[in-house]
């Protein structure tokens, strides 16, 4: 190989190494923050309703600080190379979406939209060629939220919050029917969608328990 060609190829590859190491650094920090967030959110299972707002508020600063990460990653990614690198932070991103969606549900009882998730994570719509939130990652985040809610339902009833199962059941049903719209490949998303079915079933069982024991009034207030 011509020495100049050799050199130029090498410099191209070194550039990639540079990008990759930069991202790795950011992802390490991203993971650390996500760990903190997930740690705090773990407390929802023993937190009574009235203390929930306070708990959720305590997550906000860390969650918002994630936009520093997305900015930093977007900065180092060469134009149009988003998909080349995204596997490096997909898991973290999915967890971030999970956290944001869980918080929004526990606060307002509503579903976090993809554009709103992007916004919370500081993803700038103009970065499209370098950074965005792909549908798949958003959907993974939602499923993680449902997984967690199915656990939350149990603990809420233990804490005597009998109206939660019905509310959550309706919410999850909505998400479930959204997912049925999709044509999925035999990939991890499909497997996780299957898990969502089990969560829904489990939540329904709790609804049965509280309904049949008449622990919840026959007609809860419309949300």
């Amino acid at each position: 190989m011509d020495p100049r060609d050799l050199e130029s190829l090498n410099s191209l590859l070194e550039q990639d190494v540079g990008v990759s190491e930069n991202i790795k650094e950011q992802v390490k920090e991203f993971d650390k923050r996500i760990r903190t967030i997930v740690g705090i959110l773990g407390k929802i299972h023993s937190t009574p309703s009235h203390s929930m707002p306070e708990l959720l508020d305590s997550v906000d600063p860390v969650l918002h600080s994630c936009s520093e990460i997305t900015l930093a990653i977007a900065d180092v990614i060469p134009p149009d190379q988003f998909w080349r690198w995204k596997d490096m932070w997909s898991n973290s991103m999915r967890s971030a979406v999970y956290a944001a969606a869980l918080i929004q549900y526990l606060r307002n009882g509503t579903l976090l939209s993809l554009p709103r998730a992007s916004e919370i994570l500081g993803i700038n719509g103009e970065w499209k060629d370098r950074f965005s939130l792909p549908v798949e990652d958003y959907l993974h985040g939602l499923i993680s939220m449902v997984n967690e809610l199915s656990r939350y339902v149990i603990n809420a009833v233990t804490l005597g919050q009998f109206e939660e199962p019905v509310r959550i059941s309706n919410f999850v049903k909505e998400i479930f029917s959204g997912f049925t719209m999709l044509n999925l490949k035999n990939d991890s998303l499909r497997r996780r969608f299957d898990s969502l079915k089990y969560d829904l079933k489990k939540i329904e069982e709790v609804v049965y328990d509280v309904s049949l024991r008449k622990l919840v009034p026959a007609n809860p207030p419309v949300q």
């Binding site: 019905v166 059941s169 309706n170 479930f176 029917s177 049925t180 719209m181 999709l182 044509n183 999925l184 490949k185 299957d194 079915k197 089990y198 829904l200 079933k201 329904e204 069982e205 609804v207 049965y208 328990d209 509280v210 309904s211 049949l212 919840v216 009034p217 026959a218 007609n219 809860p220 419309v222 949300q223």
Partner: protein
Amino acid sequence: MAKDSVLDVFEQFREEIDDGNDRRERLIKASRDVTNISKKSIFLLHRLVLEDSSDDQALAARAASSGRQKLSEANTIFKNMREELIGDRFWRYQRQVSPGVQEYIEALSFAHYVEHHSLISYQQVQNALSDSDGLFFPLAVSDYLLGLSDLTGELMRFAISNISRRGGRLKASEVCAFVRECKSDFERFTPHIRDLSKKQYVTANSLEKIEAAAYAIAVRGSEYDLPPEKWDDLVAQVTTR
């Protein structure tokens, strides 16, 4: 053979080999297309059977018909494959064609089950794979059985997602019995069909999942002294908004 004639003969061989390879390639592509259409048809069925409806049977018939509608796109492809698979060619390229055919059978049998609560027969699949000129190509018994074996996985999903709907518990126990029978019927074919025993493990797995779901219902229900038909009503009072 003289040197030139050797070259001539090998040139013929080349054409023959190239023809075979090109045909194999076309069939692989066609088979992939059929697979994709079939998968979409399966998702469509899962979607449709969950729609709100007061008449379950009508809903099921509608869903099955839409599923078959989608599948008819595959039939167009099969029709085009007829020429490529004529005579001794079918068995020559069977391995290339078979993934698509199996996925098609999975989808078709799912539509059939949704509507009729029964297993589609070999003859019925053959009918689906033909037009007025007869069969598009022979139906291998192995493709038929392996396609059906995959059906049990979809039925598991069908049962689980239905379970929390009105009447879903009954449906789940129907599916449970059906899948159990499939598994037991297929058992005797395992020595004859490669890969079927592996798929029987998957079926066993699906079956256990359905059984676990049926168990959970039974256990929870047994605690309350109410006929099951009443449960849905009681719950409905709580959950309807």
